[in-house]
Amino acid sequence: MNMPGPEPLVTYTIGGIESGPPCCEPVPHLRIANLSIAYGSATVLDNMSLDIYKGCITALIGPSGCGKTSFLTALNRLTDLIPGAKVGGSVQFEGIDVLDPNVDLLVLRRRIGMIFQKPNPFPLSIRRNLELPLREHGIRHRDVLEYKIETALREVGLWEEVRDRLDSPALALSGGQQQRLCIARALVLEPEVLLMDEPCSALDPISSGVVEELIQRLCGRLTVIIVTHNLAQARRIANYAAFLWMKESVGKLIEFGQCRNLFEAPKHELTSAYVSGATG
């Protein structure tokens, strides 16, 4: 990646924050213009435009149903799997027109990984869970596989916990471990962008904290877009934040900016009401 060396981690804590640098030079990694998503005749997201910056963590906040998850699934074209989903506008990613019907989805999804709300490892062994996507992308050499699997597991802090039972079922892990395994499974493909759809919402506070730290460690290396309902979490980990709101049951982007600005000096009154807990 051609970006300046990783800056010291910025941690936003709840309470008054005077200032804090953005995580790096804001270089657009994903350029989203006039994005609209509809399921059948129901529009869920209308005319959304923003740049997602490279190496930064961008949080999407807003009430349920305002199109945050739909937005994420449009970026890796998972919307293709939903019957009746229509996506309009444009998404540019490193010179690729993501919404082009001819785009190679397997390559796109390798470069833009995704973590889901519910941890759902495949019903296979821990090792197979990581091996499967690698083999799928043509990596078959035993040593390479082992190396990559170990690296990914170390990265999510799971290696010491599972190194002795790589061949035991992944579904026997705890919820937090399962979610970290899912993150490892995405990381093992070395994606450039990671889409995270409420990755901590199904976890207990301790596991949630572990995953949160992990996301912070990814900052600078990967572009992370995270949907979260936990405003404190968004504030702690994100460099940038986007606030979405529903107008006449259609999701709209209300405000986008540096995370602390959005929380401390929101420009829009809806944002202000939402982050202060008055609505939403």
């Binding site: 397997l106 390798r110 495949f122 019903p123 296979l124 799928e136 992308h137 026997a172 995405a186």
Partner: protein, 280 residues
């Protein structure tokens, strides 16, 4: 009052279950009581004599197993393919899928004698296979298919969409998701459908009389006519005076065979599952 009705309910539930078990045990006991005397090792390995009144059932056993093998060899790939198409490649509410499902459900309810006559007209006469194990096996395959397809399809459809989305997000192809994740997860349903099919096939008489015939010689090839166990039992009890004890013994063999095949299939799928998917 409440406890009284509750107790009556519990009692009737137990009664219903006991009645079901008792019916089977009575049947099995009756068969064992009458058939055991006639049953011996030589009964299993020798040719029938005097229209089956004496001698054994060796050729009939061989024919039965061959017919079953032909039926399964035809039904498993075709049935799995159809189930996969219905569950994965067509919209669940689409017109084509709906009409195929409807026709399968109607087919599953068609009396076996109709399948027998169809098999005779199509396989024996039209395709020129004559009265043969091949004709019989293929006719049985037609009978097994509807129920096998519908159970397998139900199994595949019941597999959580989360895994499909996850796998797609990892850039896996549909085929490999099917092979590595969905089919193993649906294996219990597939095995169940298969066992229902095997049960139906081994117990079949009407569909086989007109297709595989009732020659009780040892078959030399798949194009020879061969008498299935159920046909043999029918013949002994209906057409051969003094064949009752041989009929009982054959029926006992048939039941034991079905139990064997079912437990074998279960054990096999268990081993396969622990190796491939390892549930919690």
């Amino acid at each position: 009052m409440h406890t009284l009705s509750d107790r009556a309910f519990t009692l009737s539930i137990w009664g219903a279950a006991a009645l079901g078990a008792a019916a089977f045990l009575w049947l099995l006991g009756d068969l064992a009581w009458h058939g055991m005397a006639h049953l011996s090792w030589s009964f299993l390995v020798s040719e029938p004599l005097n229209a089956g009144r004496s001698g054994g059932i060796a050729p009939i056993l061989v024919s039965t197993l061959l017919i079953l093998a032909v039926a399964l060899a035809a039904a498993i790939p075709l049935g799995l393919g159809a189930a996969i198409w219905l569950a994965e490649y067509t919209r669940r509410s689409g017109a084509l899928g709906r009409s195929i499902r409807l026709s399968l459900d109607v087919l599953a309810g068609i009396p076996s004698i109709v399948f027998g006559l169809f098999g005779n007209a199509f396989f024996c006469v039209f395709l020129g296979l004559g009265f043969s194990i091949l004709s019989g096996g293929l006719t049985l395959a037609c009978m097994i298919l509807p129920i096998f397809i519908r159970t397998s399809e139900a199994g595949l459809s019941a597999v959580s969409d989360d895994w499909r989305h996850n796998a797609a997000a990892l850039g896996m192809t549909r085929a490999s998701v099917l092979w590595h994740v969905l089919l193993p997860a649906a294996a219990p349903a597939v095995i169940c459908g298969l066992m229902l099919g095997i049960g139906r096939a081994t117990a079949e008489t009407a569909a086989l009389i007109f297709t595989s015939g009732y020659v009780d010689r040892m078959p030399e090839s798949l194009s020879d006519s061969g008498r299935a166990l159920a046909v043999h039992i029918y013949d002994l009890s209906m057409n051969v005076t003094g064949g009752d004890s041989a009929a009982y013994a054959s029926a006992l063999v048939l039941i034991v065979l079905i139990v064997f095949i079912n437990t074998g299939a279960l054990a096999l799928s268990d081993r396969w599952l622990t190796r491939r998917i390892t549930a919690t």
